[in-house]
Amino acid sequence: MLTRRTAMMGAALAALILATPTLAQELNLSRQKVELVAPPFVHPHEQATKQAAKIIEFRMEIEEKEIVIDEQGTKFQAMTFNGSMPGPLMVVHQGDYVELTLVNPETNTMPHNIDFHSATGALGGGALTLINPGEQVVLRWKADRTGTFVYHCAPEGSMIPWHVVSGMHGAVMVLPREGLKDGAGKALRYDRIYYIGEHDLYVPRDEHGKYKRYETPGEAYADTMELMRKLIPTHVVFNGKVGALTGKNAMTANVGETVLIVHSQANRDSRPHLIGGHGDHVWETGKFANRPEVDLETWFIRGGSAGAALYTFKQPGIYAYVNHNLIEAIELGAAAHFKVEGKWNDDLMKQVKPPEAIPPKVQGALQPKTQPN
């Protein structure tokens, strides 16, 4: 009631700022501190919970740093939540409160903030969290709806897209308290969860066509902005780097295990596809109150959203998880691998005959009669 009336008032923003500290003292809920982990991994969490709603405390430090984004050693001035691209996945349950301490160390050069697509009001929290280097802020928001949602930095104006394509996005997953369900209301569980954040990157080139290196994000700004406005990325990467989730860092699973893959893209559309597998249950828009689609081959992640796909591996081997714009996957970098161990199932697939020379063609007219008359 209070919220609705407040929202209808012209000075909604001011009222919220005033209201927040009052409510904070009124909240008589237990608190839980959660250490975030770098993607593709996700902090331990309950899938369904019998606990009462809580205040979940997270802390993230913003880190501006130079990173390498491909195997050719291309250097990139990145801005990150907690040092990773994407920022960590935060998992809570519907009805919980997320209380984030956002830290902008004085080693950084720019103001930053955070806009949670999962939060209500104040530009997703962006209007309440703008902090300069050397400052920190605490924001609390109520997880009033379930789903996977993007969060991103959104300082102002052109800073918004620039900070996002410099690495500043991550995701929140608000689970139903009773856990995930299929369209018929049957409980769905996962044995493993991986979080994949996709970034489109725009790295300017010099007059010889070589990627340019910049000393600070500020020096990269003008050239990068010019390139960004053409909308053609130089790199499209999962987890900050071409090949970040391949080789030694490939994701793993066993045959029979169910994996939940959360995929976010804060800026540009993507179309995940698991080569050799499927999406058993897919919340393409990421919102768990909607029935999941089943048996998908490829799903669509709208720029500015996060989706979730559940799959039970049935066959061992190496799977590629790609953005199925294959040019972006293979040429620009949007590809990851799953290593899946277990027993091969001949019923699902078998090489009946290995490759061999094509037998000589038998011409129709000369075909010997093999059928008895």
Partner: protein, 285 residues
């Protein structure tokens, strides 16, 4: 390894690895051939033999099988470049409008390898260098490469489980992933950065893979290992380095990787072997 003893190897189109019986062993082992104008530094390897895993795919009795091991005898000395062709050397061919231009991100310097070159580029360079020097240069065969690589040649074959193809894929992936250390990224290092092997060849199996002349061949073997038939695809050539790869001949950058479930070569470069001049005369060149 078990196969080796009872395998009858038919060397198909192994080209110059076939004994020519025209030179005698060089006493005292390998020797450096001093570089002079227009001639690259070569190492002459004495005759000898190498235990070699035959390149290509094999079936045995109609089922996928591990490639056989073969002892390859080099019955004449092999003159092979001490280091990979440098980008500066390659650039001389470019300057004469014979070779294709290197991409802008390849550093052109006397001490940097030519990378981002396809088999066709390497072959064109060999032809150009032969004309320039009057000496016949060509890419090595895979057998010759293995011989010259010495202890840096790795038999990367894996047992084939006819009932579960995923075992081989996972094993290969694990091995190739483990090779990919932080030091061996795709940034080309100065020539010599990966050191010399026991034959004095520099940078063998560093982060630049080398083209060979060996085509991709698929061979059907019978129960006792005799080749029944084979199909060769010379649009795909064997590339050697930390692991063996089969790469389409016009590809200059095998790194894109991603989709195919393997770790691609970090860079594609090459070194050449020099044929004895006598051969040229035989061929009327």
């Amino acid at each position: 390894m078990l196969f080796a003893a009872n395998f009858k190897i038919v060397l198909m189109a192994a080209g110059f690895a076939v004994p020519l019986a025209m030179t005698s062993a060089v006493p005292g082992g390998n020797r450096d051939i001093a570089a002079f104008k227009d001639q690259p530094a070569l190492i002459e390897l004495a005759t000898g033999s190498v235990l070699y895993r035959v390149a290509g795919d094999f079936t045995r009795n109609g089922k996928p099988a591990q490639a056989p091991l073969a002892t390859i005898r080099m019955t004449r000395p092999l003159a092979i470049m001490k280091h990979q062709v440098s980008s500066a050397d390659y650039q001389r061919c470019v300057a004469e409008n014979v070779c294709r231009t290197l991409p802008p991100d390849v550093a052109v310097a006397a001490d940097r390898p030519a990378v981002m070159v396809s088999w066709r580029d390497a072959d064109a360079y060999a032809a150009w260098l032969s004309r320039k020097t009057g000496e016949p240069y060509r890419l090595p065969t895979d057998e010759e490469w293995a011989y010259a690589a010495g202890s840096r040649y790795r038999d990367d074959s894996l047992p084939v489980d006819g009932n579960d193809p995923s075992k081989g894929w996972l094993a290969r992936y694990a091995r190739e992933s483990s090779l990919k250390s932080e030091e061996i990224d795709s940034k080309p290092r100065p020539l010599g950065a990966f050191g010399a092997n026991e034959n004095g060849l520099l940078d063998v199996a560093g982060n630049v893979w080398e083209w060979t002349n060996t085509c991709f061949v698929r061979t059907a073997l019978d129960e006792s290992g005799n080749a029944l038939n084979s199909t060769a695809n010379c649009g795909v050539r064997v590339v050697e380095g930390q692991h063996r790869a089969y790469v389409t001949d016009f590809i200059r950058d095998a790194r894109a990787g991603g989709c195919a479930a393997g770790i691609p070569p970090s860079n594609l470069g090459f070194r050449l072997v020099r044929e004895p001049k006598l051969l040229m005369r035989w061929f009327g060149l």
